[in-house]
């Protein structure tokens, strides 16, 4: 049971995270929504801020920012901890449902090498469909129980699908549909909005301070931050999906997480994937 947070714990926590120098880049309030221009500005910001990082290397998160961490990662990658999840995912993907159908029947190209096109915007439903949502829908359509969005089976399935797309660049499309632009803008707004008692937005850490440390962890750049999903985190000593990453990030800054795959999270994933277009998929990944 969390002890009652006294003023001192609050100030300690703020001081602890105050080591994050918070300088906000010059900002002009342009109201027209122009995703293409956003994506270009987003890419240029990171390429200029980290000229020594090779373009494709941004997908390696903290390991593109710190040599000592990169070496530990290289050691792990020789026989990565997500090996079991990947094999389990491959096996599950080929196992038929009770009604004889397969996951492959729900996806283009049998679900092989398509991860980089997710999330997509479904113009019939007028909302963002992430890979995780599509997988659970495929299960429900075929009379199966949906999986938890945060780990285990969902992580194993998405690990396999990501693996089949390794190296393919993100290719997120925003159709000419005002609802799609609204979903994109909603994701962007969530990304930059400060939340939680520590009053941070995703950008406070992943735009203003990539490469800096929060205690043992080195912050990853936002550019290409979802390319390695799902990830095996040593901290979780297990696999985690994008949903797990979003909910745990919220609780880290003392914000109450929303339901996995709620609208805000799906739009956030839509925005973050779109502005990382062109960067290769590297999932499943291993992280600290």
């Amino acid at each position: 049971m969390r002890t009652r947070p006294t003023l001192s714990i609050l100030t300690a926590a703020l001081a602890l995270c105050a080591l994050i120098g918070a300088s906000s880049p010059a900002a002009l309030a342009i109201d027209a929504v122009d995703p293409a221009a956003d994506a270009k500005a987003f890419r240029d910001f990171f390429v200029k801020k980290f000229p020594q990082v090779k373009f494709e290397d941004f997908v390696n998160g903290p390991y593109s920012m710190n040599e000592d961490m990169r070496k530990q990662w290289k050691d792990k990658e020789q026989f990565p901890p997500y090996e079991f999840a990947l094999e389990a995912g491959k096996e599950m993907f080929s196992k038929p449902f009770k009604n004889g159908k397969h996951y492959a029947d729900c996806f283009e190209n049998g679900g092989i090498g398509v991860r980089q096109t997710y999330p997509t915007f479904d113009e019939k439903e007028g909302q963002v469909i992430t890979l995780e949502l599509a997988l659970n829908r495929c299960r429900e359509v075929n009379g199966e129980q949906p999986y938890s969005y945060v780990k285990d089976e969902m992580a194993q399935l998405t690990a396999y699908m990501a693996f089949t797309s390794r190296g393919k660049p993100f290719d997120i499309k925003i159709p000419n549909d005002p609802r799609a632009l609204e979903a994109y803008e909603n994701g962007k707004r969530y990304f930059y909005t400060r939340r939680g008692q520590l009053n941070f937005s995703c950008a406070s850490c992943h735009v203003q301070n990539p490469g800096e440390r929060i205690r043992a962890e080195v912050l990853a750049p936002a550019f290409g931050i979802l390319n390695a999903m799902p990830i095996y985190r040593s901290e979780w000593s297990g696999m985690g999906t994008t949903s797990r990453r979003f909910t745990t990030c919220n609780s880290q800054i003392r914000g109450v997480p929303l339901e996995p795959q709620s609208l805000e999270y799906r739009d956030l994933e839509y925005y973050l994937s779109y502005v990382s277009n062109g960067l290769p998929i590297s999932g499943p990944g291993a992280r600290p």
Partner: protein, 104 residues
């Protein structure tokens, strides 16, 4: 003043203002304070912006009340209300302020 300092003072002001001295609290005092805190937290929920520390303070208040310790229960309820209100202010102010940080 750097953004971090702003956060710091912003949070401190929110908290310091709410904890006033009070005689031995009665159950009625607690119930009123808890209701206010709960309402504020529901509003925070509507804005999709609640804090984990508010939830913690609310549950501490409830537990203290169950054991009859209404002083503690009242203090926790008041703190929960302050935290919930802070999360509402944060949500409303950020509706425009988020653009300050946007990459252009």
């Amino acid at each position: 003043m750097s953004v971090v300092m702003k956060n710091f003072t912003f949070a401190v002001i929110m908290l310091a203002g709410s904890v006033g001295p009070s005689l031995a609290a009665s159950e009625a005092d607690f119930k009123a304070a808890f209701a206010a805190a709960d309402a504020a937290e529901k509003e925070g929920g509507r804005l999709r912006n609640q804090w984990t520390t508010t939830e913690a303070a609310l549950s501490t208040a409830k537990k203290a009340a169950e054991t009859g310790n209404f002083d503690q229960a009242l203090r926790s309820a008041q703190e929960a209300e302050a935290l919930a209100k802070a999360s509402i202010v944060q949500a409303t102010s950020e509706q425009q302020r988020w653009k300050d940080m946007e990459i252009h």
